[in-house]
């Protein structure tokens, strides 16, 4: 009983410190608040149940980030399987969805930016999120993703060019 209370106290402290960072990381990947909430809760439950498996070989946030990323990627893959192929073709579905979302308060170009990012290959998408939104330096990213700094820089470069090209091609009202 005492152990349970200690675990709960420790976990609440961990949540206070990391829940917002993890939420925004997941939210940018899945875009919808309800989806982000589901993924975050599943992710935090996994963390709570497996916290003793954290071996301290990497930074705690790196470990938490991996769990959150895997959870979000699994969610997106499952969601993609349930959707028809035509929906994802041009990104307009996501733009319309975001514009109707009460928890999205952005301009059209911000919605188009999300659609452009959603169309990136998975690895480039991850690198783009970490660098562009989370402003992570390449050394930390290298430790987190197990990829060389040079490869990460190239990946970000390609991602930025693809996003820019997408945005240049869409007509903004």
């Amino acid at each position: 009983m005492k152990d349970d209370r200690q675990s709960e106290r420790g976990f609440r402290m961990l949540m206070q410190k990391y829940q917002e960072r993890l939420y925004w990381h997941i939210r940018r990947m899945v875009t919808d608040h309800e989806d982000a909430n589901d993924v975050l809760q599943n992710c935090l439950i996994k963390i709570f149940r497996n916290i003793r498996q954290f071996e301290g070989k990497s930074q705690l946030y790196t470990w938490l980030y991996r769990i959150a990323s895997n959870e979000a990627i699994s969610f997106l893959a499952q969601k993609k399987r349930q959707q028809t192929a035509s929906i994802d073709d041009d990104g307009s579905h996501l733009v319309n969805k975001l514009q109707a979302d009460i928890y999205f308060d952005g301009t059209e170009i911000q919605a188009q930016l999300q659609a452009a990012i959603a169309g990136l290959p998975e690895k480039q998408k991850q690198v783009f999120h970490l660098r562009y939104f989370e402003e992570m330096n390449y050394n930390d990213m290298s430790e987190m993703l197990g990829t060389s700094v040079g490869a990460l820089k190239a990946s970000f470069h390609h991602a930025v060019k693809k996003v820019e090209s997408y945005l240049s091609g869409v007509q903004i009202d």
Binding site: Q16, Q19, W24, H33, L44, F104, Q110, N137, E164
Partner: protein, 180 residues
């Protein structure tokens, strides 16, 4: 700051459009109070999803007493100590005249003929048949000291008192509550 400056410079070189977009406010919002409520919501979910098998199994009084004594003393001595304590105290309680008087005359005669060992054996074999509360009352009301049983275990009363005092001082309120 250096990290942000590096990113700003990198973005300006790669894509002025994306650099400009980065300056805009985060378009994603959350419901009001979402982050404040999340820990409680999650803890409630964790409690609801806790596996049923993890619920504590209620132990018998004798098991809990043995465990208590095991935590106070070395295991070999504790087991012997707990057994002798329970059997002697309970046995002597059941042999007290006021308890015998509450039984029928036939039972009185039978019990009066039994030795302490026979009563103790009976209690040991049928320990689950006794109400837990009756046994606790028996131990408390008997007022029997354990000193008589100690020489057999190579201990004296002072050893046990010292040991118990030390152990109890080290226990907190929760440990004590968990025993009963």
């Amino acid at each position: 700051m250096r990290k942000q400056d590096d990113l700003k410079q990198e973005l300006e070189e790669l894509s002025p459009l994306l650099s400009k977009l980065k300056m805009q406010e985060n378009p994603f919002k959350t419901p009001e109070g979402y982050f404040a409520a999340l820990p409680d919501e999650l803890m409630a979910r964790l409690r609801a999803e806790a596996p049923v098998s993890s619920a504590p199994v209620r132990q018998s009084w004798a098991e809990r007493l043995t465990e208590f004594l095991q935590s106070l003393m070395q295991p070999r001595i504790a087991v012997a100590f707990a057994s002798v304590l329970v059997l002697i105290v309970a046995g002597l309680y059941w042999l007290r005249p006021e308890n015998i008087n509450s039984e029928s005359p036939g039972q009185m005669a039978l019990i009066a003929d039994l030795s302490v060992e026979e009563v103790s054996d009976y209690i040991t074999e049928n320990i689950e048949a006794f109400e837990e509360e009756d046994l606790i009352v028996a131990v408390v009301e008997s007022g029997v000291g354990v000193e008589n049983t100690l020489p057999e275990m190579g201990l004296d009363a002072a050893d046990v008192n010292d040991y118990m005092e030390k152990a109890i001082q080290e226990m907190d309120e929760e440990d004590l509550e968990s025993l009963f």
